[in-house]
Symmetry: C2
Subunit: 396 residues, 2 copies
């Protein structure tokens, strides 16, 4: 087994420490680093402050072999990352003429003069290397410090992602992968009952792989992780054993999402789908149409939210369904939701979270009542999941 | 001005460093800490590893006066936070009988026997204090280390939020607020043109408040920040000056979101709204119905996604609109979208991102063509924003 090489991520910005903004760049970089062979051991988030940034960079560079920093490279006075990096490197700043030229060219292309404060972006540490950034004005910078190769990237997620993929990943690719993971995803099974049903599989494989559970609303994911050589095979064998027990309860793996899986099933069968949503208020249509190409199977739907709209819109959903069934070879299915999402509107008989889901197909209509937990948005999200899972089971 | 008291947050968990899970607990804690008078200076994310957790706790406890840790308190073998905290405190672990009793009571209530591994959750550091957790089995723990009061909280977001609010906030409330912020929110103005239009206001106030800009899709927020005594007044005066220049371009402040603002305008006028969505595929209906009480003004809508569904569904939206206009005193408005969200379907004349938005009201129908940037989900999000902003301007 190869020696594990470790990486850290530092993200920089006041807005990441004030409750305004959640850091998603680290999540993106973690996945990318793991795919290139690195084990990410730590994230640090610091303010736009030279001392805070410099001390975080210095400490990280002694703990890992690769350090990625993001943020604080803009043209305004609160962008201090390169000054801090220079301080950590114990060197001064120099104006890099290639960066000036690149920024000027970008403004010329836009037909606008370059504001003088953009020249601040060309001030880079005297030690190190500028990496061209064709997707923005912020310079990407590299230097070695202590034990680590250190890269400084912009904080704008679109720029960060492009630059990591196109400019950084080739330079840092270890050529092997050390950590392997797989998630098997289920809906509506309950964490402890799921764990109980697979206890023998866990016992059988626990020396080779690590199992974990993650509950997100009504979804339960089984996580399998292994490291080093043989890890992929060990995960595959464990996953096969889990499939032997759980079968079709597993709707997907890793990045697969339920609306996509349902879409593929519909395509495979040549079926089409129409929706009538009340309590989910457009959420299921939104999730289905998040998937590119959804128009191949998703005809459309009604959001019959106010009572006054229900009779008229629902009559039409029905006619849409009938008409399409008549004029096409496809069999149209229809899915409907109604319920109490809260916070008000609940009663003793139908408390908040009570949801009815109807599924109509060529072989009749079924209705299920579910009691879902969560706040308003939780009830709605869970309604959508339960609904799509019901459809998936029907399509199988 | 009071001396600034600083806080840090440590979040613990392998899934936070593998690209699987984005840490949102820190964002929640940041906002809560700031409201209680604290200045949050750093987040650290570490693996489920005793040495990594202990060294992070020790280092943080020397840099701040308050340290909140989250995660790694579950019953399974990968939950190591209390063992690590004991190591940082240089003490052993003891079994806390109150925690055992509390966990047993929770299982009794569920009518299930307590699995033996839940006893692990009762092993707490010998030094420090157990804080009762009525919403879960994980113990909440407090101890003082170096310069900091250290609290250890569960990682499950629902539990963390409840415990922070109900059990921790009173204990750590400084009784004053040090950092004040306000965001003024606009749609579709462009960052640099927005900055240019308020340059005199920035110059006038820059000694008392700090200005920042944040672009999220087609939204542009102006951020105002000030610290210490007089900060609130300084922000209010600056915000008033900005409103003097920007007027109705500002749709809302801080947590206000556009669907909510539009809803309030509709209620104020006694108007109702119907939707016909094509490229936005249910997203606008979803956003409107995210707001509790939306049925007071949102009648419903059609998601006419497939071409075959357009004629039939749209005829009905029209009749819904007419009918409601006839039977109620309210004036019904109708909003429609169609466009190319991508990734395919674009042409030279109508590239990906081309969107048409129609707004029909008692005084006629207007149609706007917009060219929006972004990937599929970006185009759809931006379509929804531009659409709702168009309606807001019409309602004003």
């Amino acid at each position: 087994m190869e020696k594990v090489k470790t990486a850290e991520v530092i993200v920089i910005g006041d807005e990441l420490l004030s409750g305004e903004t959640t850091d998603t760049n680290s999540t993106y970089l973690d996945a990318g680093l793991e795919a290139l062979g690195w084990m990410v051991r730590r994230h640090t988030t610091v303010l736009d402050d030279v001392d805070a940034i410099a001390s975080a960079i210095k400490a990280s560079s002694k703990r890992c072999q690769l350090l990625l920093c993001s943020g604080g490279l803009g043209p305004t006075i609160d962008d201090l990352t390169l000054a801090a990096f220079a301080s950590a490197l114990n060197c001064g700043l120099r104006k890099d003429e290639s960066v000036v030229a690149s920024i000027q060219a970008k403004f010329e292309k836009l037909g606008r003069p370059m504001p003088p404060n953009n020249e601040r972006q060309a001030m880079v540490p005297e030690i190190g290397e500028v990496i061209d950034n064709p997707v923005g004005t912020a310079p990407v910078f590299f230097a070695h410090l202590n034990d680590a190769d250190v890269y400084v990237l912009p904080g704008v997620p679109r720029e960060l992602k492009w630059l990591f993929k196109e400019k950084i990943s080739d330079r840092i690719n270890l050529g092997y992968r050390n950590v392997f993971r797989r998630s098997l995803k289920t809906v509506g099974r309950g964490e402890s009952s799921l764990e109980y049903s697979i206890r023998n599989i866990i016992a059988k494989h626990k020396d080779k792989v690590q199992f974990g559970f993650r509950a997100i609303g009504v979804e339960n994911h089984i996580k399998i992780m292994a490291m080093g050589s043989g890890a992929e095979d060990a995960i595959q064998v464990a996953a096969d054993d889990l499939r032997g027990i759980l079968g079709d309860s597993i709707y997907g793996v890793d990045q697969e999402i339920l609306p996509e899986v349902v879409g593929e099933l519909l395509i495979g069968r040549g079926d089409t789908l129409a929706l009538a949503e009340s309590c989910s208020g457009g959420l299921i249509a939104k999730q289905l149409t998040d998937v590119a190409g959804a128009s191949a199977y998703f005809l459309g739907g009604c959001v019959s939210y106010a009572n006054s709209a229900k009779s008229e819109l629902l009559g039409v959903c029905e006619s849409l369904l009938k008409r399409d069934g008549a004029v096409s070879a496809a069999v149209a299915e229809a899915l409907a939701t109604t319920g109490v999402a809260g916070p008000s509107g609940g009663s003793a008989e139908k408390p908040v979270g009570t949801v009815f889901i109807a599924l109509a197909g060529p072989d009749g209509t079924t209705v299920e009542r579910k009691q879902l937990i969560g706040n308003r948005s939780g009830v709605r999200e869970n309604t959508a999941l339960v609904c799509l899972e019901l459809l998936r089971q029907k399509l199988l």
